[in-house]
Amino acid sequence: MSATTPPDSSTTTPAAVPGTASRRYSWRRLPVIRQLRQSVGVQRGMLITGLVIVGLMLAAALLAPLITPYGPSQLRGEDGLFGARQAPSAEHWLGTTAGGYDVFTRTIYGTQTALLVIIVAVAFSLFIGVALGLISGYYGGWVDRVLVVVADAIYAFPTLLLAIVTAIVISGGSSSLWGGIMATAVAITVVFVPQYFRVIRAETLRIKTEAYVEAARVIGTPTLRIMVRHVLRNATRSLPLLVTLNAAEAILTLAALGFLGFGIEPSAAAEWGYDLNRSVSDVSSGIWWTSLFPGAAIVLMVLGVTLVGESLQDLADPRLRTRRRTDSQAPQATASAPVSAGGAAAGVPKGTGPSEIGPSS
């Protein structure tokens, strides 16, 4: 079991931001903002691009009713029905779907659905995974062993199939807006819990042997308090990274479920995957606008979140972090410096894919 970040994070700060250690807790040390201040060059560019895309998506979700000319399940305007498969025009900027909805409206409203699912799914898996990981790591024993075996089994299973099975169990066909969102979110949660479980368990195992934890135990601190204040607060370091990577995967899983027909009903909310499913037959007859725009929205959103996650990952690893240039003969020297440092990490299959957190065997 290896965590993704090296054990000692204190080594990562001094070079870039001298004197942070003595500074009071402030907004500058919040997860993403700290990394933003720490980054330089291409890495900063990646992080900022990602943050801008995510920001635009957030804005689209919040302002959807203001941006879009119609409602997500609206089929008729002032002069009758929209009509199915209308090419892009002044009235319908991105055309209409096979079902007669406005593509632009549904693509924008799709951000709302995606964000809701991400938030619910990540919150659930964070809560359950962290709780189980803490308990499993702190107490050990047979509970630990059973949880590890089950988590490994789930981890080895194709995530999409697991999500499908869970989605059927929960929704069983019913799909109101919240019903559908909850079903999808729980399906994604089941897939993600083992990842949080593993990371937190590994950290807990390490932290519980530290002197300060034993000291707390000796003076009779209640177990719950030790677990929350002493262990958990020191074990959360790699969580922001995991959350961003999972958010990206959650969007893809939601879209895949929708594409297979196990997401949210079209009349309840706009969902990109479902719209793509409807557009499969359009493609064969050369109608491109029904599939291109929802699909591009998925790609853009995943891209934004992944860029943020990737940059966080690079910045968390001192071997991959580009240093701030100190001398003037910079470009050549700094470009080749990490090569020798990276050599030590070569055997570790890291960065194999945004989805891969935790051990591979």
Binding site: V42, V149, D152, A153, I154, A156, F157, P158, T159, L160, L161, I164, V165, T166, I168, V169, A248, A255, A256, F259, L260, G261, F262, G273, L276, S279, V280, V283, S284, S285, G286, S291, L292, G295, I298, V299, V302, L303, T306, L307, E310, A335, V339, S340, G342, G343, A344, A345, A346, G347, P349, K350, G351, T352, G353, P354, S355, E356, S360, S361
Partner: protein, 336 residues
């Protein structure tokens, strides 16, 4: 030997837990007959059918019986079209295996050379471009990529077929063969008709690309990271000082060590490819397990779903086992 044995035993709990989970999940929505026929039959008729199929007995009894059936290789009979699940698995499993195999080939052909280029041109524009490519390959859902490929290559350019595993003439002729393997490429080659082989390959190009690109991105990153590490080793410096060309250094000296980590991720990639196959098959109407899975899901035929999911779980577990063995053979430090 001891390691192989212990590792083999570890497959059992994994498969067992997964099959149990699927069974419990599927029973939580009620029994398969109500799920499939609910609303179409009267309550009395439903009761009769449940009685006949034994779904009114305690769930534990059913579970033990189900495990026994699976051990004998019997997955039951589908409800919607009344076929033995085992037959469904064999017929469509071969199609999925074929697709996943093509996908892996695409992943190797694209991912490994590009990873080598990225490592050789580290921190320069080809590297940055390839890194963006890898992220895009991850961010694009296979079904969207599939639709785009279909739009461009089959509808606009008209050079490749839109869907299916083969044109109907080829399909009929291949299915008429005695002892057909079900893997079209092998069957077509054995039939000795180049027209059929070309037809099968043409149908495979787009699905394989859609499915393989995601894995290609993963391979690209892996090869890049590892090759950068290998290129920094002393023996590479030694070779360079002897005057070996940069091209040869990358192509010959650093190549092999950088490939080993790929073996270790193939297990996890198989799980991903199988999930991706479900989506690719639906996009391209490739009649494999994934295509059938969505079909049975919409028919609420949970006996069939249960069988398909169990088979996929077994495939993933066995692949992981094989990968671990290969890794142990390559690297003697890995032992229990």
């Amino acid at each position: 030997m001891r390691y192989i044995f212990v590792r083999f035993l570890l497959i059992i709990p994994t498969v067992f837990i997964l099959i149990t989970m699927v069974f419990v999940f599927m029973r939580m929505i009620g029994d398969p007959i109500t799920a499939a026929q609910g609303g179409r039959l009267s309550a009395a008729q439903l009761d009769d059918m449940r009685e006949a199929a034994g779904y009114n007995r305690p769930i534990l009894v059913q579970y033990v019986e189900y495990l026994g059936q699976i051990l004998r290789g019997d997955f039951g009979t589908t409800i919607s079209d009344n076929r033995p699940v085992t037959e469904v698995l064999v017929t469509y499993g071969t199609a999925t295996v074929e697709l996943v195999f093509y996908g892996l080939i695409v992943a190797f052909l694209i991912g490994i050379p590009l990873g080598m280029i990225a490592a050789a041109k580290r921190d320069r524009w080809p590297d940055a471009g390839l890194r963006l490519f890898a992220i895009l390959a991850y961010a694009t859902p296979v079904f969207f990529l599939g639709l785009l490929l279909k739009l461009v290559f089959s509808v606009w350019l008209g050079i490749l077929p839109t869907s299916g595993r083969a044109s109907s003439r080829t399909r009929i002729e291949l299915s008429r063969m005695e002892d057909a393997t079900g893997i079209y490429l092998i069957d077509a080659i054995r039939a000795g008709d180049m027209g059929h082989v070309a037809d099968v390959l043409q149908h495979a190009v787009l699905p394989a690309t859609a499915l393989g690109l995601l894995t290609a991105g993963v391979f690209l990153r892996l090869v890049r990271t590892n090759m950068i590490g290998t290129l920094a080793m002393d023996y590479i410096d030694t070779a360079r000082s002897r005057g070996v060309s940069e091209y040869r250094l990358v192509r010959k000296h650093a190549y092999r060590p950088a490939l080993i980590p790929i073996v270790t991720v193939i297990g996890m990639q198989t799980a991903m490819l199988l999930g991706g196959a479900v989506l690719t098959e639906t996009t391209f109407e490739w009649r494999g397990l994934g295509f059938q899975l969505t079909h049975y899901l919409s028919a609420r035929d949970f006996i069939a779903v249960q069988g398909i999911v169990a088979l996929l779980a077994v495939i993933v577990a066995v692949t992981n086992f094989l990968v671990d063995i290969v890794v142990a053979l390559i690297d003697p430090r890995v032992r229990y």
